[in-house]
């Protein structure tokens, strides 16, 4: 694909590749936790809740990214600390954040004098329009996520797997759960601004699902889903350049094809998808 490498001489294309790789790595590492903990709805809820913070920032003439990050942190801490005995359903609570955030955002944008930006455009970031500043922010996030996961790996895995047992072992369950939710929330909110919600949801779910089908240890799942995310991102961008396709959809459709192929391969070999967590509801 020599054309694709020629294209890398354009800065926007290099930035797109960097942003895509960072997004793939972040989603590859965080996504398996989203899938096994059934938090896919979290990404959708947070993306809309983030409007609240962005609206406030518009009103105060601050960088909307700050508002989005503040909301992500607030929601993660709220979800992590809330008493699960009293609030029965995470999903419902995320729904509340979704609506309240959006409402706050609309109120503040309405009250902002003069030019009213259309906040909805933030949902559909474009990977070809990524700035260096945004890549810097993503890089800091990626490094932080790796440091936190490396440091707290044992505890985070234990809490994600079996909260009750972790509590008996004296592990600070709420703290670690909050940490995990914070990483997920920041990843979602920042990536949405950069590559758009559709690509974020795709990268958070498709590569981890493939990883979960092919590997049986968490480290392996994380590694494989990262690799798959990188592969479909690069492949999709190449495809997009070669065939003149929109870049995000090219990445997503390539991923979906791969997911289907792996699924079909497992099925045909009689391989068991016996209890893929995301597909099973009991």
């Amino acid at each position: 694909m020599p054309g694709f490498f020629d294209a890398l001489s354009y800065e926007f294309m290099r930035n797109a590749v960097f942003a895509g790789l960072l997004a793939a790595v972040l989603c590859g590492v965080v996504g398996p936790f989203v899938v096994v903990k059934r938090l896919a709805f979290l990404s959708d809820g947070l993306s809309h809740a983030a409007f609240g913070g962005m609206g406030v920032c518009f009103y105060l003439h601050l960088d909307p990214l700050l508002g989005a990050m503040a909301v992500a942190l607030l929601c993660a801490v709220g979800l992590g600390l809330v008493d699960t005995e009293t609030i029965r359903s995470y999903d419902a609570l995320i729904g509340v954040f979704w609506a309240v955030g959006l409402a706050v955002g609309i109120v503040f944008v309405y009250k902002t004098p003069g030019y009213a930006p259309n906040l909805m455009t933030y949902l559909f970031g474009n990977i070809l329009l990524v700035s260096r500043h945004e890549i810097g922010v993503l890089l800091v996030l990626a490094v932080s996520v790796f440091l936190i996961l490396g440091l707290f790996w044992k505890g985070i895995v234990a809490v994600a797997f079996d909260e009750v047992f972790a509590r008996v072992q004296g592990v600070p369950v709420r703290l670690l759960m909050t940490l995990l939710l914070t990483m997920i929330a920041l990843t979602v909110v920042l990536l949405i601004q950069v590559v758009g919600i559709i690509l974020v949801v795709a990268l958070l779910t498709i590569p981890p699902l493939i990883g979960l089908m092919l590997r049986s240890d968490l480290r392996g799942v994380l590694a494989l889903s990262t690799a798959i995310g990188v592969a479909i991102t690069l492949g999709g961008l190449g495809l997009s350049y070669a065939c003149d396709l929109p870049s995000g959809p090219a990445i997503i459709l390539l991923g979906a094809f791969l997911l289907f192929a792996v699924y079909a391969g497992r099925k045909l070999r009689g391989g068991a998808l016996r209890s893929l967590p995301a597909l099973r509801r009991e």
Binding site: F152, K154, A158, F161, Q169, G170, S216
Partner: protein
């Protein structure tokens, strides 16, 4: 092998006048219970009677509405063995058998340290003991219910616990594994108290020193002689009854049928 409970020792755990419920529904009412240092306590009672809830309160996982739980000797976190009933986690989670058992070695103190060689050696030893060595690299979703139950028992005992709680440990275990489990529990009980929720007192009969019968209230307990009447009140049907005679530790089996 009979050991008497050292009466001079204070109980390890004292639960005093525990009342607890979920929402507005009371599940436990005024339950007082002690766990002695060398206890082997079987908690029996009908489903929904509050057995699991009581154990969770003893472990500090639930806070009672009223009453208190006192641990007379502080047991370090990570040294309380707990074998929950199956459903506390998602079997689809990508972990191998050995990964799950390794988690038993984790505690607040070593949270930031990677698992050590000693941790892995302890896991290998306990897997061997419970006949799970061949399954060490299997995914937890690929193994049978009985095997998973043994894995959870391995996880609970791998850190050399100072007290062990088991919630229905024999529910789906085959006869052979049951033998291995009984042997392990007997050995552990020489040093530490063991609390077992079970419907199968018969299987553990040689080990059980005391029986607590929980059906919202603690229907019968040490001191109050177990008789068929109280048990039937608890279960609402004829039951098999095990009790101690005058000599502590000597279990007699009395079968009562109408």
């Amino acid at each position: 092998m009979i050991e008497t409970i050292d009466r001079a020792d204070r109980p390890l755990i004292e639960a005093r006048r525990i009342t607890f419920g979920y929402g507005a529904e009371m599940v436990l009412e005024d339950v007082t219970l002690t766990i002695e240092p060398r206890d082997f306590l079987a908690i029996i009672g009908p489903n929904g009677g509050g057995k699991t809830t009581l154990v969770k309160i003893l472990l500090g996982l639930l806070r009672p509405w009223s009453g208190e739980v006192v641990w007379n000797r502080p047991v370090r976190p990570g040294r309380m063995g707990y074998v929950p009933q199956f459903s506390t986690f998602d079997k689809g989670f990508p972990l191998r058998v050995s990964d799950v058992v390794l988690m038993g070695r984790m505690s607040r103190r070593n949270l930031l340290r990677p698992y050590s060689r000693q941790d892995r050696a302890a896991v290998a030893a306990v897997l061997e003991r419970l006949g799970l060595t061949a399954l060490a690299d299997e995914h937890v979703r690929e193994i049978s219910g009985g095997q998973l139950q043994r894995v959870l028992i391995a996880r609970a005992v791998v850190a050399d616990p100072e007290v062990l709680f088991l919630d229905e440990p024999t529910a789906s275990i085959d006869a052979e594994s049951r033998g291995a489990l009984t042997g392990l529990l007997e050995e552990l009980n020489r040093r530490i108290p063991v609390v077992v929720i079970t419907h199968d007192v018969t299987g553990l009969a040689p080990l059980v020193r005391r029986i607590a019968c929980v059906n919202r209230r603690l229907v019968c307990h040490e001191g109050s002689e177990l008789d068929a009447h109280t048990l039937e009140e608890a279960y609402g049907g004829p039951v098999e009854l095990i009790t101690h005679g005058a000599v502590p530790g000597v279990a007699q089996r009395i079968l009562h049928r109408h």
